[in-house]
Symmetry: C2
Subunit: 591 residues, 2 copies
Amino acid sequence: MPRYQPPIRDFIFLFYELFEINKRNGSIFSEYTRDIIEPILTEAGKIASNIILPSSVIGDKEGCKLNEGKVKTPNGFKEAFEHIVSGEWPSLNCDPKYGGQGIPLTIATAVGEFFGSANVALYIYHVLSHGVYSTIKAHGTEKQKQDFLPNLVNSSWTGTMNLTEPQCGTDLGLIRTKAVLTEKGDYKISGQKIWISAGDHDLSENIIHLVLAKIPGSPSGVKGISLFIVPKFLIDKDKKFGLRNNVSVGKLENKMGIHGNATCVMDYDEATGYLLGPKNKGLSCMFTMMNEARHAVGMQGLSQAEIAYQYATQFSKERIQGTPLKNNTQNSIAEPTIICHPDVRRMLLDQKSFIEGARAFAIWSSILIDDANHSSDEDAKGLVSLLIPIFKAFLSDKGFEYTVLAQQVLGGAGYIEDSQMSQFVRDSRIAMIYEGTNGIQAIDLVARKLSASGGKYLMSLITEINEFINDSQNNETLLNEFILPLKSAVTDLESSIDYFLNNGLTEPNNALAGATDFLHLFGHVILGYLWSQIAKKALFKLNENSDVEFFEAKLITGKFYMKRSLPETKVRLARVLAGQNSVMELNQDLF
Amino acid sequence: MPRYQPPIRDFIFLFYELFEINKRNGSIFSEYTRDIIEPILTEAGKIASNIILPSSVIGDKEGCKLNEGKVKTPNGFKEAFEHIVSGEWPSLNCDPKYGGQGIPLTIATAVGEFFGSANVALYIYHVLSHGVYSTIKAHGTEKQKQDFLPNLVNSSWTGTMNLTEPQCGTDLGLIRTKAVLTEKGDYKISGQKIWISAGDHDLSENIIHLVLAKIPGSPSGVKGISLFIVPKFLIDKDKKFGLRNNVSVGKLENKMGIHGNATCVMDYDEATGYLLGPKNKGLSCMFTMMNEARHAVGMQGLSQAEIAYQYATQFSKERIQGTPLKNNTQNSIAEPTIICHPDVRRMLLDQKSFIEGARAFAIWSSILIDDANHSSDEDAKGLVSLLIPIFKAFLSDKGFEYTVLAQQVLGGAGYIEDSQMSQFVRDSRIAMIYEGTNGIQAIDLVARKLSASGGKYLMSLITEINEFINDSQNNETLLNEFILPLKSAVTDLESSIDYFLNNGLTEPNNALAGATDFLHLFGHVILGYLWSQIAKKALFKLNENSDVEFFEAKLITGKFYMKRSLPETKVRLARVLAGQNSVMELNQDLF
């Protein structure tokens, strides 16, 4: 079997060489120096490779089972889950007040990538619990925080998000689940929720469901939705779990991937629930944790692309096949492995240059989230809000695409389930769909985020990139291979924004018809910007003769991205400029 | 469940309106007029929807089972197979001399699309048998033809292709399977073959394996490979099947998709085999049927994209969700189905415009194959040889991409296996891999096909397209929406060819590093050319007031392709022009 090697060196580069997190002014990162963090990453990496990864294949094969209303996770899941918990990994970036370790999200992002690569179906149980933790922490009463947070932090309880119903996914204004106030002041929740990840399982003592429901008499649409805490087991006075609540699993879904994660139909039959946050403000309360949740889903795309790339690379160095064409400077190779072939290298570099660029994006955006959370930095908050839909959709779309490409490197072997490549493809596919489909991310970006605060955050980002371009003209390598392509891509971004301004205000469909293409254009500009920063740093380090191989690889990989991936902005711009006509013209009967 | 409606009208358009097959000079098509063919397509369509399609989901769920050395196909497969056989569908384009119906491949291509959409795992059994039929017909002795062809034509026997071994897939020079001449004049075949589609099953009385093997003492590499007929049951004097041959199933593979098709490890242990074609010419004999086989695999990509598109379209017309933004001319819609949303339409039109363009490519290339086969038309033969790698790789790559996009239209529902969208994605994935991976197709195109006969076929195709462009300048609609974009795309194609000529001859890696991108560029030019022809015809028909809705839809869909898909040639050209540097530079240890 191929090995998974956690990309620790790359994270160290991003933390301490590219973004220099512990040198940031007034930063929450100051105490997290390399000598503290590197051993943490090393330990997390070992657990990912040695403990978590072996449970992944079994999980895919066995899937979850529903027996007499109870979900059983695949063999090995409970052991791996408990191992993760005993190392206190899920509480890394939780508040020490509730038992957490208070480490920045930025560091936890690295650990999340490792665990996600190793077994994403298992990791999702933790991601959801963290989302519930964040939501209760942000909107709960002091009593609710005391009641729920410590056990969520120590993972003896886990959590779920209940939004979707059969008649509504994206359009939550259509939900029908009812919440009726009782004399005791709590609510009776009745209704059906579908596609509830981690809806039931045998990993934790209790499951805390966050449920969107309507209190009778509330306004129609999204303005009449409230949020409720509905525990699987009600909490008695000793804060131990007690009576079984009236929530049950109606069905376990048979999915394309993430078989080890229980996706449930949940039936609420006058289940006891507690209002979380203000009445009728449920949607905005639920969406507080949306940035983190969507960040985690973007990371899923990256994590699957990473492990698939590693497996493909190992295969390409072992598989002997074909005779590479000789050129003037090379001798022929007796038993060439397929990594000698240009078309195989093209596939691997497409993956590698995306992955490393995306990882830089992951850390940049994590730093911004940390800044926003910890110092109420409004600029960071605004920028995060702009970047998140791009991060979620671009990383999950491309993550899937490059996982498929990694599978392609193995040829026929990649199509056989034994190679695990099919599983990576199937597992990564969900990230394009949940936490808001990627189409919804694009609409959110174009219809809301671009114009937020009068376009302030958009404009300041473009200004930042243009300043970087202006500051980087004096190095010739950088200029030709990075800065000029970046400049051209930014121009494409600006042209598409101009198009939206001139055509999207009077006819919104002109913007909406180009939303997805715009998001991808923007994603490429960001990765192009980050690769240019990486290249600048690499050139600096190479001048110092520091870690030469690592930084030369960065330069070559970055050049590949700028030459071969970044030009996608051209076709994305052409699609944006096509506007609504060709999209809206066809009568729907003729589809 | 959604319905599958065979695209009969589109094939009628292609046969009798676009390509006017029965008006072609000296054509084998003259007798196949619309009144003869339309009822055949209608009947084939009914069988596809009513008989074959229901077996598809079961096939995916159950898969094949290996018990005591025998493979059992999923429930319903045998009945569907027998229904197809009783209608004599597999013999449509077989020689009447052996019991076939002698209908051109072009017509059979339509039927193949329907059957492939309905259940590709089942349809592959027929495709392989047809490949074995063609190979024996081309290279067999008169006795071999008499012995094997009638039963292959009537499907009481089926066939397989045995090329791959554990140590070699693409590079067949490495095969180890041995063939030792016996005193009787036949051979004893020993060795292991892997990934043998339809290797064993319960659908037919006998299975005829075509096996590549080396006769001891033959030259090394591909020049020492011979081809053998190895029947599962040896044929006795009455031409009935007799003694069991020493060929057995070593293993049944667990694959990502096409679960209903048995992919086997085949063990040959001194199995009796008969030399087919000349000694040491096995590879070229096997490759005679490669054009048809690769055409069939391209069709697989198209067939999956088509049924997935149909399911997505139906979902989009039924699912109520979201409120489309109003514009000045529209009233708001009370309960909008998601097909009202621009981003959903964008997804559907990406699929539709690819599918209809690809279908035109399918029929154009089928006509050329028919011409090449029946009238020894060397120009047709040369052009087919140039087009086939593009057809196979472009249609399977894009077919997969758009099947994934169709799945996306369903949101969460698309990830649940019940919707069958996951199956279409998983089933379509294999087409990018087998019959030569798409990377191999690209290398074949760039390294062999472009320069074949001094580039004659390439140049005459480009001349043909440029002449079409010159002849079509006088219609303004056509000019702006079709001809100018096509011209720009052809220029990109010419630029990339120039680049290869100037840089690929001295340094072949400059061409190989851009092979896949060049293939996609070329694929877009072909679809752009075909869409321009379709538009020209549609404008002509609209002038006549003929089938207005159909032809207006063609125009709109074509415009979408030219505006939104064709510009991909720009980024493909940029990637081609990037050459080998960024691809070959990185030391392999640094991947």
